[in-house]
Amino acid sequence: MVDSFLFQYSFSYLFGGTVFAILAVFVFLKAPEESLNKVFAFYCFCVAWWSFFSILMINSPTEFWGTFWDRLCLMGVVLIPPTFIHFNYILLGYMQKYRWFILTNYIVSGFFFIANLTPFFVNHTSPKFGLNYYTDPGPLYLPFVAYFFSLSFFTFFVLFFASRRATGRYKKQVSLLFWAALLGYSMGGNNYNLSFGIGPAFLAAIGNLGVVAYGLIVAYTITKHRLLDISVIISRFVAEFIAIFILGTIYLFMVWLYWVNVSVRIDIPFIVITIIFGILVGQFYQRLRLFFQTTSDKLFLRGKYDYYDTLSEASTRAGEKLSIPSILNILYDVFYNAVEISNPQVFLPEYFTEPGKVSKRYLIYDKETFKPNKKGGEIGFDDPMVKQLIESRAPICDPKNPCRELVIPCLLENRLIAIFVLGRKLSEDPYTDEDINLLEGLASQAAIALDHTRSYEKIKTDLEAAEKVLARSQRLASLGTLIAGVTHEIRNPLTVIRSETERLANQARDQEYLKNYRDLLLKHIDRISGIVQRMLGLAKEKPKKAKSIDLREVIEQTLQFFVISRITVKQDLKPVSMIKANEDEMHEVFVNLIQNAIEAMPGGGTLTLKTYMENDRIVAEVSDTGSGIPEDIQEKIFDPFYSTRHEGVGLGLSIVYRIVREHDGDVVVNSKPGDGTTFKLLF
């Protein structure tokens, strides 16, 4: 079978050189910034260099060219030892400590590199073992070979001891590196035999393949896992090997049949090339096919792709919604625009609209209003279809029925949350399995989302109720403050009445005194009744009624509730249009704002109250000259329970905000720390 050693040897070099050239580029590009990748790439480059120029040398026509190519080839070879130990040291993490050692090796190699340019290294070349020309060692060649092997053996030892010392997974990995290096070098080293005239020659050719195996193992180690798990690579190699072995045997059997029966002439290199091609096909066919398939699918089946995307995206979106209209909106959107169904209907049980009631039927929800359409039809809970849907947990597909061609249940455990009753597609095409699968996915998402709306609605109602209770208690708390103020207000007129009445006995005959006394008494009694009246008005829970009110009056009345001490009150109440609002709630707004303003100025200051018109809007302003609100909390002050005071519940401003919003108004805060705060209400 052996045609010519020259051919085999050239081929092994060609193969090795190609593999190492590819490895060099590949490993380098994988991470050009990593020193490990750089050094290993350079190592591969040197091996590839050696391989390619060896081919030229062994095939050269004259001795001149043989020697020329040999010298060029050895330029790569002399750099193999230092790069080899260099990347192994990086891999093992020894660089920090032994940088000097690596440097020394480069210097030694540099010496041989220069020596290579002189006749002392390689003087001439001569034909050997059927090769056209091969190295004849010069006086410095032997020391180099000695250096090459001693350094290589040193590296093996380093790897061997590193593997002994390593633990766990790392141990396996380092020992793999050791065995791989030993294999590569013990086989690749055979090339030197030829220059000293030692046979058998074919060992050198096989040796080159060993070097290739080594390079591949290290490259894989570096790029994939750094130090990979040996069991992974072994199992992969075994699998690949068995696969190639089985297929290769079949192939060789067929070749044998051909050889025996058809033609005696057989071309070995052709067989090798076809086997390599076969391996490549095996390796890349699947990936290549997948790549082209997705590309061509996208190109030719674009509409379908969009449609699937829309459906799966809608499923995700539906799962995020918490209100029935927004979920229905997505569902109908998908039915009409993505799947293109002529008459889709979504049925929901009654409890979605009437939470308290016992539900007996599913109602159709209108595609535009998203509310139950009682005329549109209903499905009773006892309908056989409902039973079937719950039991089978699968869609009902009836291609003969144009209105109910496809019925999809939205199930959550054993509860049928909704029913999609879908008519024909606009295209009149039947529903495909994929359509049904995707719609089922949408249905299960919708079931979850719809069920969540119920718990969400319940939480929302509970929360609103709780907020109302708290708002009332907050109101009572502010009422407490107000009552203290009111008591004080009453005591002053009482003081006047009491004191003057006590004096009455002595002054009874003084007519002028009596007149003054009467006026004074009446004035202060009226004052007290006024205060009492306001108190009652505030304490009573009145039904909410909106009427036309003047904000100026509200502000003036509210202000009377406050005992204002140390603070100067400035009122700049310009006439404003009447506002349709609930008077009590407006009182509450200003009670809260004024109270906040007063509390913001414990050391005194100016409280300014303003009303004016601005671009057809009624504006009321409450400003203080207190400490102001830091910018970072200005957003939070309207949140319920946010309070900067220790005693505060933190509901005051949230109540203000809610009431103003309910009156279609806006609240604007303008505050500078140190300068005070202005709350501006716009209606």
């Binding site: 203290a484 008591t487 004080h488 207000e489 009453i490 005591r491 002053n492 007129p493 009482l494 003081t495 006047v496 009445i497 009491r498 004191s499 003057e500 006590e502 004096r503 002595n506 004074l520 004035k523 202060h524 005992v563 204002i564 001490s565 140390r566 603070i567 100067t568 009150v569 005194g604």
Partner: protein
């Protein structure tokens, strides 16, 4: 010797006048009426004897707490700072507030009269004061202050 001067400070004109009248009716005292803290300070300056070295002709102040701009408590602190401890001060107020009571009584006031008050209580305060019981009165009030403060702190601790 002229009658001692009593000053009534209250922002409510009617209340201030009523108190002034009650005191005037006794015929024993001269009364100055101030309708604000600023007014009161001006009066105090006006009635200094020998630039304050000889004390002040105003011997007693009946002081309201709730007043705009500067309230009675601030005024009390200012008087104690600027005019010393010689002038007797009686707090007149409609407040029933622990914190304010504490602040007022800590300023060595002779007593604390709650509105609405009986005329005879007011007169009694004046008479006791001018009889020379001032020290005793202040002490009593201050004792009460200490007692009550202890109560407050106990309450606070319980909380």
């Amino acid at each position: 010797m002229s009658n001692p001067i009593v000053m009534v400070v209250d922002d409510e004109v009617d209340v201030a006048n009523a108190i002034t009248n009650i005191i005037k009716d006794t015929g024993k005292y001269e009364v100055v009426t101030a309708y604000s803290a600023k007014d009161a300070l001006a009066q105090l300056k006006k009635h200094k004897v020998l630039l304050g070295l000889g004390g002040n002709k105003i011997r007693l102040i009946l002081l309201d707490i709730k007043m705009p701009e500067m309230d009675g408590l601030q005024l009390l602190e200012k008087i104690r700072k600027d005019f010393g401890e010689d002038i007797g001060i009686s707090m007149l107020t409609a407040w029933e507030d622990d914190e304010k009571w504490e602040r007022a009584t800590s300023g060595f006031v002779i007593n604390y009269i709650k509105k609405p008050f009986k005329s005879k209580d007011l007169i009694a305060t004046l008479e006791n004061f001018f009889k020379g019981d001032e020290g005793k009165m202040v002490l009593n009030t201050f004792e009460k202050h200490i007692e009550k403060r202890d109560e407050f702190s106990k309450k606070k601790k319980k909380r």
